[in-house]
């Protein structure tokens, strides 16, 4: 079976790993956003949602393990590609022409991804950790909305989500290009869908810190 391993470590194989894990993470984001929307329903709605998750915790655990490994693969592989791709051009150009032949979303995928990663760590520490390691009668709504009162957290959340939108706008169509779906029948639609998806995610997640910071959730 060494051919499987070798293939996944080829230039095209590494792209495939990025694309598959990327799509998995994009699906997760949809579910995550749907859950987050219950914040707008007020304290009871959100806490009931949290209780529901609490209720099916064994299932959530399995999902978490899968999710964590998907994240690790995406991040590890992305970083490895970034390093190798840097090495493919040891001496750079004195004049950078990339603005003229690429868009900002694809050019900055590694940077936006890295910032989202930093945010992810903080996010896990502040919210996810509380969800898992506090007592059973947890008022996660209050904890969460209080975090959004902290200006730097709200700002960080908002900026990270914005950059995540950039990342997704590139990642969506990029994944399908890697799968080999660049075909004149489907691809124009995929590109539009990707932008719509990125917009929904950005507006959906991004509205939360804005709303709770300025209106305190009241």
């Amino acid at each position: 079976m060494s051919w499987v391993w070798k293939s996944l470590n080829s230039s095209i194989g590494k792209k495939l790993v990025m694309a598959i894990t990327g799509v998995a993470l994009m699906l997760f984001l949809i579910i995550h956003l749907a859950g987050n929307m219950s914040l707008y329903g007020g304290k009871d709605a959100f806490n009931n949602y949290v209780r529901l998750l609490e209720h099916i915790k064994p299932f959530i655990r399995v999902i978490e393990v899968i999710l964590a490994s998907v994240f690790v693969f995406h991040i590890f592989n992305g970083t490895r590609l970034w390093i190798e791709n840097k090495q493919a051009r040891p001496q750079g150009y004195s004049v950078n022409g990339s603005r003229k032949n690429t868009d900002v979303f694809s050019r900055t995928a590694f940077i936006t991804g890295s910032i989202v990663f930093i945010f992810l760590v903080i996010h896990l520490q502040t919210i996810w950790y509380k969800f898992n390691y506090s007592g059973s009668e947890l008022d996660l709504y209050t904890i969460t909305t209080e975090w959004f009162q902290v200006w730097w957290y709200a700002a960080l959340y908002f900026i990270s989500v914005l950059l995540l939108g950039f990342h997704l706008n590139h990642g969506f169509q990029s994944a399908f290009q890697t799968f080999g779906w660049n075909h004149k029948k489907y691809f124009p639609f995929i590109e539009k869908l990707g932008t719509v998806y990125a917009l929904i995610m950005t507006i959906g997640f991004g509205s939360i810190p804005v709303y709770f910071f300025f209106f305190g959730g009241k």
Partner: protein, 255 residues
């Protein structure tokens, strides 16, 4: 009709050999807008030679955009600012009086600099040797229409076959990836009946050699397509990916 000459400041990359450290040398030129970019460099070289100075080394052959030998990075863009042309077809009328123009070689680990603006692109030849061909018996020329091929397919294959192997895609890519080039070569055969017998072996071995030479991986920025003098489409990269996945699933190769 007489055209006024334009005055330009050229900053040209000069480097003695692969080991030495290069730098820009400035040349002030007054050039006719009708001159091509390479003719301008020829003029500079004539002057340099008259003064007993080392001329600028750069490559060209056909000077009509079909051989892929020329290739300079002009103000950060391979083959210069005008899309869909090779460096040899770039004319000075596209520049304004007083412009500063930076001229650099293609830069990639797989393209070591030989001298000044000349780089060694033989890695691309090695990729071609790995599978960029079809095996046929050398007898009389086969009848052109013996195998019926639908027009759309023939056209798509021709679009891919337009690649002149210049390496601008590698030069443009922030990852120095050769995937547009390799995918064009994979596609031109994968699309046609004549390419079928070696279809999967071809893509497997060409990608393998491409990776060995240290070209980067594609991250779908599409800079290659934007800079390719022949407008080779990134759809070919998608096709190469499909071919590669199918090859891995179907081929007999268990290595």
């Amino acid at each position: 009709m007489e055209h006024k000459k334009i005055n330009l400041t050229l900053k040209v990359w000069r480097q003695q050999n692969a080991q030495s450290k290069g730098s820009f040398t400035e040349y002030k030129v007054s050039v006719s807008p009708d001159s091509s970019f390479l003719e301008m460099l020829d003029d500079i070289n004539n002057d340099l030679e008259k003064k007993n100075l080392e001329p600028i080394t750069f490559e060209s052959d056909c000077r009509e955009g079909i051989c892929g030998t020329c290739g300079l990075v002009i103000n950060g863009q391979p083959h210069g600012p005008i899309p869909r042309i090779a460096t040899c077809q770039l004319h000075m009328r596209n520049f304004k009086d007083g412009d500063i123009i930076y001229v650099e070689p293609f830069r990639a680990k797989a393209f070591p600099i030989i001298k000044d603006l000349m780089v060694d692109r033989s890695a691309m030849d090695r990729v071609m040797e790995a599978g960029g061909f079809i095996s046929v018996n050398t007898l009389s020329v086969p009848d052109g229409n013996a195998i019926p091929i639908p027009k759309e397919i023939a056209s798509e294959a021709m679009d891919a076959a337009q690649c002149i192997g210049c390496g601008a895609c590698v030069a443009a890519c922030k990852n120095a990836s050769a995937m547009l080039f390799v995918s064009a070569k994979v596609s031109q055969f994968a699309l046609l009946p004549q390419g079928q017998p070696e279809r999967y072996k071809r893509v497997e071995s060409m990608v393998k050699v491409m990776d060995e030479y240290g070209f980067g991986s594609c991250s779908n920025t599409y800079a290659c397509e934007a800079e390719c003098p022949k407008g080779v489409s990134v759809k070919n990269i998608a096709r190469m990916n499909r071919e590669y996945f199918m090859a891995k699933v179907k081929s007999q190769n268990v290595e």
